[in-house]
Every structure is written in structure tokens, then in C-alpha cells.
Subunit: 419 residues, 2 copies
Amino acid sequence: MSDIKRYMQQLGQQARAASRLMAKADSHAKNLALLNIAHAIRRDKQALLAANQADLEAARAAGMEAAMLDRLALSEKSIATMAEGLEQIAALADPIGEISDMKYRPTGIQVGRMRVPLGVIGIIYEARPNVTVDAAGLCIKSGNAAILRGGSEAIRCNQALAALVHEGLAAAGLPKAAVQVVDTTDRAAVGELITMKQYVDVIVPRGGKGLIARISEEARIPVIKHLDGNCHVYVDDEADAVKALRILENSKAQRLGTCNTAESLLVARSVAAAQLPALAAMLTARGIEIRGCAETQALVANAKPATEEDHYTEYLDAIISVKVVAGLDEAIEHINQHSSQHTEAIVTENYTKARRFLREVDSSSVMVNASTRFADGFEYGLGAEIGISTDKLHARGPVGLEGLTSLKYIVLGDGQVRG
Amino acid sequence: MSDIKRYMQQLGQQARAASRLMAKADSHAKNLALLNIAHAIRRDKQALLAANQADLEAARAAGMEAAMLDRLALSEKSIATMAEGLEQIAALADPIGEISDMKYRPTGIQVGRMRVPLGVIGIIYEARPNVTVDAAGLCIKSGNAAILRGGSEAIRCNQALAALVHEGLAAAGLPKAAVQVVDTTDRAAVGELITMKQYVDVIVPRGGKGLIARISEEARIPVIKHLDGNCHVYVDDEADAVKALRILENSKAQRLGTCNTAESLLVARSVAAAQLPALAAMLTARGIEIRGCAETQALVANAKPATEEDHYTEYLDAIISVKVVAGLDEAIEHINQHSSQHTEAIVTENYTKARRFLREVDSSSVMVNASTRFADGFEYGLGAEIGISTDKLHARGPVGLEGLTSLKYIVLGDGQVRG
């Protein structure tokens, strides 16, 4: 057995043992741990900034690009935000132990379900120290044990944060091994983490598409994953033109690089001549390149031609694909064919079409007259978010505490036996 | 591309297309299809018996063992039961399109969830024609498309049933490809089915442990699986002796070969001398061999010694392992260590211990004062069951229609954008 394998197996065993204690931990202890950690983070702000500074210098020396350095960097403000995040998680209702649907059956037994933790969650992410705190907080609150593997460039800061998390857990009477930070930059550790079935119940990768695709391919443990966000806005025949303009602007132009940003615009043929020029002018004014079908190009002078591939593309950039469609049927068909099943919105005043769009579009979030940018755990009121799942099994859409739990059946009887 | 691969890809494409139509099919059409199929099965009873007879003769000639022949055989009664099963599924509420948890958010959007089908479900099972009908019925009702791969020894009967299913679907205006029976006995078909990610959303294996373990290992698609049922009954210090005896008898002796049969008995030390002899006498009278710890052997003359492996074993036979434990803590620890997380029961009159057992035992069904034999979709009121999941993700415990669905988020707005 290699050293890395032995080390990871040890983390796994410790996590499994800790997960049993976390599963029965009461709400008070879990919340106390979260508040303790928040307090320790605020108290040790300077030490965290120093550890982060050392990480940044090493990363800069190694030639890390500016956008990555930006995500690695901590500030007084981002440290305060980390602590506040933990306090917000502490304020959420405890999902664990919640009992629902208790019903008497003709045999006299009473059957229902109880919400329980998943067990041990492995989280793999880039060099972003705030994810360490966020993921630790969500796992503690949901009664799970976590094994965290952040990008190696953040290792000093992650170690400093791990010490504070352990201090907070211990002071609340909870096991330190409830949150373990993988303490090696060896990439083989990831390979172990995503295959040690006996110790890890689910893997949550957070980061770029490449990272997530690779982990999904290689994992032998279920993965809650979040791949592309190729989101659509469909402007229906009966769209309110003002709402269409506002929703498209927000969906596409508010932020270019987020997964809930619209990457494709569909416009019903009957309103294309009336609405598309204004929509295109807004996009152009915001610096967004338009790649359209022939009809779009006829109506929008500066539109470039869109290829079939454009319709499958998540640009994460100042580009949008545009297509004129016959109406609702073609819009739904186009979306179900091309989208990544993340988030799609229709703009319409028509009740029946809104209802059909909601039912027939097969994406994790489907919206009527609202910006795709709302697809987010906080906006949905989950209070926290560990990612947005584009899978259908287990968790779909923004994943909050509930996505880190499972339901078991409970049966209450008075000595009943089966006939 | 091999012929089998080409054939399976074609089934996959057809299933994917059919799944879109099934997802938007209304409840009336789906129920009509189920009733049509039930009618056709009753009408063509003689032809089904003849096809089954041909299967049985070929299987007998090939040396199939008696227990398997038994499961393959149809009778007038089992054919009637198939048809009734479909009528029961038709009578259940349609889970698809159900909207829940709609709440207004401070931004003015209204957020909730809608229940939707998973898409395409691949079901792999042994030579049991009744599973063909059962699985088809559950998939139709839940708005999914199904690709069914039954044991090759049932192929004639499955083909005859497939024709009736297609007739029933078509007469209800639904696509025939909503239910496709793999029409080859080539085992390579299974390998294709469990890896063609683009066409299949989930695999449900039904059958022996070996089949399920192999499919879980090789599948590249999520699997809803059901492995061992190493179920425990714990007789607590404060157990009612009459209830303990009755519950143990039913849990262990009502049927030996089911997954919810108890395979292990734990008895609290303080009541072992008083209760274990009577419990053992009942087991012995039912022909069940007792394999116990040293304390058990001291109290029960005919008890054989239990090895550590016995405590991990699902016998599916007239054998039970017995262990005297210090009390609740040791019982919970022993169960969480040795059980297969299927079903466990405590017998106790103590409120606090019952509550702790429910919370701390990490199994898909946890019971107080009731027989483990109740762990079943019909007994729980699900109206149908496609299997019992011992996984934690997605579906846990008996899986009915709901386990074949997912929840997507829906958002209703009036032009809201994100600030």
C-alpha cells in the first residue's frame, strides 16, 4: 500500500467514525461549533491573511494566472464574509431528524420518513479558501463528516482554517475528524478519495468543467455534479416586450461567467421583427456578440452566423447565440435538444404556454417571466448552496443542506407482525 | 460497431424519443394504457400460457433448477395477478407534474418544485415474466420510458407480453417505444445497456446478489440497487416478552428467503436469562438453527458457536445468529457495524431508547415494536414496488413510483431580475 493510499484510508476511517457521532449530534452542538469557528476566524484574521499571503506568493512564483490568483486571495472583507456565512448556516433549521409523512397503515403500523445525513462527503475544489469554510459549515450542519481536498495552491491557508475548524468542533464537544483537510498536495490523494467506497458516500466536485468531468469519469462513488450551464431565454409570441428586454439583459449581461447566465436566445417568429432588433441593440450596447440564424441575421445587421455547435455552447463570455423559432413547440424541442438542463426561462403572458413550458422543459430550473440568474441556492431560499446539480438522481438544481441528506423509513408499532 | 451495439443504440434512441412524449402524457392516457394492457393480458391468457410453456420446456431441457423454473412458470392465477397489478398502478395518484413547496421570495419570484420523470430506465432481471409487466406498469405510470432485459429463458413469454404492452400503449395514443423488451439473448446487450449514458438515465437491477453486484460494478449509469438484507431484531432490557417472541417469530420464521427476514437477534444482557430460552425454543420449534455467542450458548443448550462472519451473513435460510449485548449502545454499534443497512427493529417499551434507536440506526428502515417483514412497498402504502434500495442517494428503502421520479425547480415571476 502506498503512503498516500494509507494516509487517505486513515482519513476515511476517521471520517466514518466521526460521521456516526455527527449523525447523532444535537442541533445545539452543531450550531455552537459553527459559531465557534466563525469567532475563531474573526479572531485569527491576521494569521489567516499571512497564510494566504504565503500561498499567493508561491502561486505567483509558480506562474498562476490572474483570475485564479483572484479567487485564491483573501481580504479582511472576504474573511468577514466567511464568518457571516457560518452564522447564516447556524441560523438555518436543522434538517436532521425531521420526521415527515407519518401515516397509519391498515395493519396498525405507522410509517413515515426521517431525514438523516448521507455519512461521509468528499469535496474536491480549486484553490479557494472560502470553499473550505463553506463546505465545512454545510457538512457540520447536515450531520455529515467531510473530507476536503482544495487546490494545492491554497494549502497553507486551508491548514490554518482546518485548525480553526477543529478548535470550534472540539469546543462544542464534536469530533475533530468531522472535518478533515487533506494535508498533501499529491494528486494521487484525489484518486484515492473518489474510489474508497467503504469510507466515502458521495463526492461533490466544485470547480471547472474539466475537473468535474474527470472526477465523474473516474469516481467509483456517487457524484453530485454540476457541469455546464447552457441556459436559454425564450421570447414567446405573447411576450411582454418590456419584460423580455429586462429579463434577457439580466440573464445574459449581469454577469458573463456564471453558470446561470443565458447563452442562447430563442424568439418566436411572429414577434421577431418587432422585438429582436431592440433585444439585439441592448446586447450590442452591452458589448455582447450575436451569433444568429439566417432570420436573425436578416433582422440584425451586426449578427454573425451561428453554427450548430454554437447552440450547444456555454460561452461564459460576451457572446450569445440567437435563433428564430416557429413557436413554443420548436422552442421546447430546441431547448431539450441543446441545453445542458441547467436553467431555462420563457417570457410570455399566455397561461397555457407558461404551463406547458414548465411541464415539458427538462431542466433543473424552469422559469416563467424571471431571469435565469435567479437559479441559485440563496435566491431560492435554501440559505446555502454547495453547488447546482444538473443530474436527475438525488439532487437536482441548487443543492443546499437537504441535498446532503437522505430519508430513511421509520415504522412505529405495538407488536404488529405481517400476516 | 457490433450488431448488438447498433441494436442497443437504436433501442436507446427510440427510448429517449419516447421518454419526451411520456413526460408530457396526461394521467388519463397513462392509466388507459395500463388498463388496456391488463385487458389484453386477460384476453390472451391462453397464448401467454403457451409461450410460457415453450420457455419452460426449453429451460428444463437446458437443466434449469427447480426454484428458477418455479419463478419462470405462469399460471392462470399468476396471469390474473399481473393484470390486477396493472389496475392497482392505474388507481394510484399520478406523481408527475405534482407541484410542492411554492413560496414567495423577497425578490417577488415564487419558487417551488415539480415532480418529473427520470427519463429512460433500464431494468435488468431474471427469467420472471411477471417482472416484465410490473416494471412496464411502474415506468408507464411514472412517465418514463423503459428498456427491459429479462432473463433469456423467459424470452418467448416476454415477447408475447411486449406485444400486449405495445398494443395497450398504442390504443392509448402513447408511443410503443415507451416500453421496449430487449429482443436478444446475447449477454453483450446488458453491457451496452448499462453503459450507454446518453440514452439511459438509471439502471434498476432486480435479482440475485451476484447479478446486482456485477451490474453495479460495471455500470457507468447510476444504479438503484438492492443488495443484502442482513436484518436485526434487538430485544431491549425493557422489551415486552410477548411482543419480542411474536416479532422475532414473524421476522425470522414467516419466510426464510426474503430480504426483510431477520438474520440476527440481539438480546440485552439483563433480560437474556429470562427471555432468550423461550425465544430460542420458538426458533428451534420452527426448525431454525441458532449460532450464538458464548453467553447465548450458556443459556441455549442447542446453540452452535457463531463466528464473526456469521454476524455479517444474510443466510436466507433456517439459521440465525444470536448475540447478547450490554444494552442499547452496544446494540446500535453492532448493527451499524454488521448490518447491510436494510431493516432493523427494536423491541422495547422505553420511549427514550425507542427514540434513540430510530435516530441512530443507519438503515433504510428502522422499526420499533414491529416485524422487519413489514419493510415492503405495499406494506408501506407505496402501492407498488420496484425494489428496496440499500443505497443512501436518491431512493432509500422500498422504491415505488416516487423513486422513479425527480424534482425540478420551477420559478414564477412577473418580469423579476436579479439585483
